[in-house]
C-alpha cells in the first residue's frame, strides 16, 4: 500500500464516528488527569490500558494517543496557575506563565498556552504525516557524542536564564548538577553520595526538585504576603482575549518552535523537556526585548508550550517507525501497543497501515477537540485563584505531597521535598535563580552519561567529539551561545 493510500485509510479511520468518539474520550481523560498536579501522561496512559483490553486495536490506540497528548496539553495548567509543574515538560511553561497569571492575566495565560499547544500539535502532525517514514533515520542519527553536544547546547541556556548576576546563575546550575550525581552511577555501578541510604540509590526524583523549588518556595512567599491586600488584584482572571499585537508576538515563536520542537522530539531521549527549554532560550535570544522574559512575556510562554506539544508528536516517529520508546512515557505507550497485540516497528506501516496512519490522522482531530474543549474551560479552571489564600496554601502543599507520594510511596522523598522547599525559598531570598538549577538537574545527568559513553566507545580518545559532524556543529553553536552574552556583558561594562 502506498503512502497516499495509507494516509487516506488513516483519515477514514480518524473521521469515522467511532474514531471521533474515541479521540474525544482520549483527550478528555488525558486533559483531566494531566491537570492534576503530579500526574502526567504516564499515569493517564496507565489508567486507560485496562479499558482498552480486548478492544479493536485501531480505535483503542487512537484513544491512547489522545490520552497522551491530552495529558501534555492539560499539564501546563498547574504550572501556570500554581507554579507547580507536575511534568518536566512544563517547567519552562511556569517561567513566564506563572508571572503572567500573577499579573491578573491568568485567563490570557491559559488561552495563550492552549493556542500555542494547538499550533505546536497541529503543525507537528503535518510534519509527522509528511515525513514520518523519512525521519526514522534522523531518529537514530544521534550517537553518544551528538547527545553530549545537544545537552551541552541546552546547558548554555543557563547564562540566559539568569535575571541578574551570572555568577549566581552558574552556582545555582553547578549545585543542580551536583544533586543529579547522587545515586548509583549507571556506567560503573558505583554509589555516589548516597550515605548508605537505600532511598538515595536511584537519585533524587525530578518531581521532588520541581515541586520543592517552584511550588513550595512559592508557598513561602504566599505565606509572607498573605495579608497583603494588593494580592486581591492578582486573583483576577482577566480577559481571555488575545489582542492583535499579542498574537503577532506569538506568531514567530509558534512557527519556529513547531519545527524545532518536533525535530527534538524525534530524537529518542531528548523529548519535550529539552525541546521546551531550548525553545525558551532560542526565543529569548531572538527577542528584541529579552528583559521581558521571566516576567510574564507572551513569547516566553508561547515558545515552550508550542515546543513541548510539537515534541510530543515528534516522539511518535521513533515509536511508530522503529519501535523504540524514546522516553518513559513512550515506553508506557509501547506497553499499550503490546497489550493490544500490535508491535510497533519498521513493519507497522506496511503490515497495519490503518493503525499507523489512523493514529496520525486522528491527531488533527484530537488537537482541534483539545482547543474547543479547553478554551471554554478556562474561566472555570482559573477559579482556583479565587480560593482564599490560606486555604489555597494548604491545598498546594497537599497536592505537592500527593504528587511525590504517588511515585515514590515513601515518606523519605517527602522529607526531601520539604528540604528542597526550604532550599528553594533561601535561593529566592538571596537572589539565586531556580531555573538554572533545574535545567542542570535535567540535562546534567544525561550529559555526563553521554560524555562517558562516548569515551568508553572511543577507548578514551577525545577525537570522537570532533569526528562526529553533528556533535562538532552543536558544540560550536553551544560555545558561541555561551560566550556571546558574557562578551556582550563585558562590552557593555566598558562602554559604561
Amino acid at each position: 500500500m502506498g503512502s497516499i493510500e495509507g494516509i487516506l485509510a488513516g483519515f477514514q479511520v480518524a473521521l469515522s464516528l467511532e474514531g471521533i468518539m474515541f479521540v474525544l474520550i482520549g483527550v478528555l481523560v488525558g486533559t483531566f488527569i494531566g491537570m492534576l498536579p503530579g500526574l502526567g501522561p504516564i499515569s493517564a496512559i496507565a489508567v486507560m490500558i485496562p479499558i482498552t483490553f480486548g478492544m479493536d486495536p485501531t480505535p483503542a490506540l487512537v484513544m491512547m494517543a489522545g490520552v497522551y497528548y491530552g495529558a501534555i496539553f492539560g499539564g501546563s495548567t498547574s504550572s501556570i496557575l500554581l507554579n507547580a509543574p507536575g511534568v518536566s515538560g512544563t517547567v519552562a511553561t511556569a517561567l513566564d506563565g506563572y508571572p503572567m497569571a500573577q499579573q491578573g492575566k491568568a485567563g490570557k495565560a491559559l488561552a495563550i498556552a492552549a493556542i500555542s499547544s494547538f499550533v505546536g500539535g497541529t503543525v507537528s502532525v503535518v510534519l509527522l504525516m509528511l515525513f514520518a517514514p523519512l525521519l526514522s533515520s534522523v531518529a537514530i542519527s544521534f550517537d553518544p557524542p551528538a547527545y553530549f553536544a545537544l545537552m551541552f547546547l541546552g546547558l548554555t541556556a543557563i547564562t540566559s536564564l539568569s535575571e541578574g548576576s551570572t555568577i549566581k546563575a552558574l552556582i545555582s546550575a553547578v549545585v543542580g548538577f551536583m544533586v543529579v550525581t547522587i545515586g548509583i552511577d549507571p556506567q560503573t555501578g558505583t554509589q555516589r553520595f548516597t550515605f548508605g541510604n537505600v532511598n538515595l540509590l536511584e537519585g533524587v526524583d525530578f518531581l521532588v526538585i520541581a515541586l520543592g523549588l517552584f511550588a513550595l518556595a512559592e508557598v513561602c512567599t504566599l505565606i509572607i504576603n498573605r495579608k497583603d491586600l494588593s494580592f486581591d488584584n492578582k486573583q483576577k482572571l482577566g480577559s481571555l482575549k488575545i489582542t492583535k499585537d499579542e498574537f503577532k508576538e506569538m506568531r514567530g515563536p509558534m512557527t519556529r518552535q513547531s519545527f524545532l520542537g518536533f525535530l527534538l522530539g524525534v530524537l529518542p531521549g531528548a523529548g519535550a523537556t529539552i525541546a521546551s527549554f531550548i525553545g525558551y532560550i532560542t526565543e529569548k535570544r531572538l527577542s528584541k526585548n529579552p528583559e521581558e522574559f521571566g516576567k510574564g512575556s507572551v513569547k516566553g510562554l508561547a515558545a515552550p508550550e508550542t515546543a513541548n506539544n510539537a515534541a510530543t508528536s515528534g516522539a511518535f516517529v521513533p515509536l511508530l517507525s522503529l519501535g523504540i520508546p524514546g522516553s518513559g512515557t513512550t515506553a508506557v505507550m509501547l506497553g499499550a501497543f503490546l497489550v493490544l497485540n500490535v508491535q510497533p516497528g519498521p513493519l507497522l506501516m506496511t503490515d497495519r497501515p490503518e493503525i499507523f496512519w489512523g493514529i496520525i490522522a486522528s491527531m488533527y482531530i484530537g488537537n482541534v477537540f483539545l482547543l474547543i474543549l479547553n478554551l471554554p474551560l478556562i474561566p472555570y479552571i482559573s477559579k482556583i485563584l479565587k480560593i482564599p489564600r490560606p486555604l489555597l496554601i494548604s491545598l498546594v502543599i497537599m497536592f505537592s505531597i500527593i504528587g511525590v507520594y504517588a511515585i515514590s510511596f515513601n515518606t523519605f522523598d517527602l522529607y526531601m521535598l520539604l528540604l528542597f522547599g526550604v532550599i528553594g525559598f533561601l535561593m529566592r531570598l538571596f537572589s539565586f535563580p531556580a531555573p538554572p538549577f533545574i535545567l542542570a538537574f535535567i540535562l546534567g545527568g544525561m550529559m555526563e552519561q553521554a560524555f562517558r559513553q562516548s569515551l568508553t566507545i572511543s577507548n578514551g580518545s577525545y577525537m570522537i567529539f570532533v569526528e562526529s559532524p553533528i556533535a562538532i556543529s552543536l558544540l560550536i553553536i553551544g560555545l558561541l551561545s555561551f560566550l556571546f552574552p558574557i562578551i556582550g556583558h563585558f562590552r557593555r561594562k566598558k562602554e559604561v
Binding site: 549566581k168 552556582i171 556506567q187 486555604l391 505531597i401 507520594y405 504517588a406 522547599g421 538571596f430
Partner: protein, 152 residues
Amino acid sequence: MFKTLNQRISIVLLVLAIVYLILAFQLPSFAYTNIDADVVPKGLGFLLVALSIGLFFAKDSETEEQRARRNIPQKDIGALLAVFAFVFLYIFFLELLGFVVTTAIFIFGCSWFLGYKKHVVNALVSVLFPLVMYLLFTSFLQINLPQGILPF
C-alpha cells in the same frame, strides 16, 4: 572580613564544595572505564570552589526589589517556621494515621492558622477534599495512598 552578604554566602558555598569534593575523592574506582564515576563530581566540586571565590569578590548587583525580599517581619518568619513544622508533622503522621485523616487535620489546621475565618467552609473542604482525592487515587487511578486507621 565577611562584610557583605555575598561574602558570607560564598563561604557557605565553599564549605559545601569542599565537603562534596572530599566525598568525591573517596569514591571507589572502577577498573573498566576510561572516565570513572569520580571525574565529573570532582570537576563540579572545583568549579563550585572557583565560583564561590568569584562570588566573594563579585560586586553586589542586586536590585532594590530583590533586597526588599529579605525584609521579612519577625511575625512572618514565625508563621513560616510554624507551617514548615506543620508540614513536617503531616509527613510524619501520613503513613501512621493514613492519608485522609492527616490531610484533613492538616488542611483545617493550616488554613485556620494562616487566618482563614470561615470555619464551616474550612471543615467541609478539609474533610471532603482528602476523601475525594483518596477515592480518586485508590479506586480510579489504582495508586495506593496510605490507608492508616480508617477501614477503607
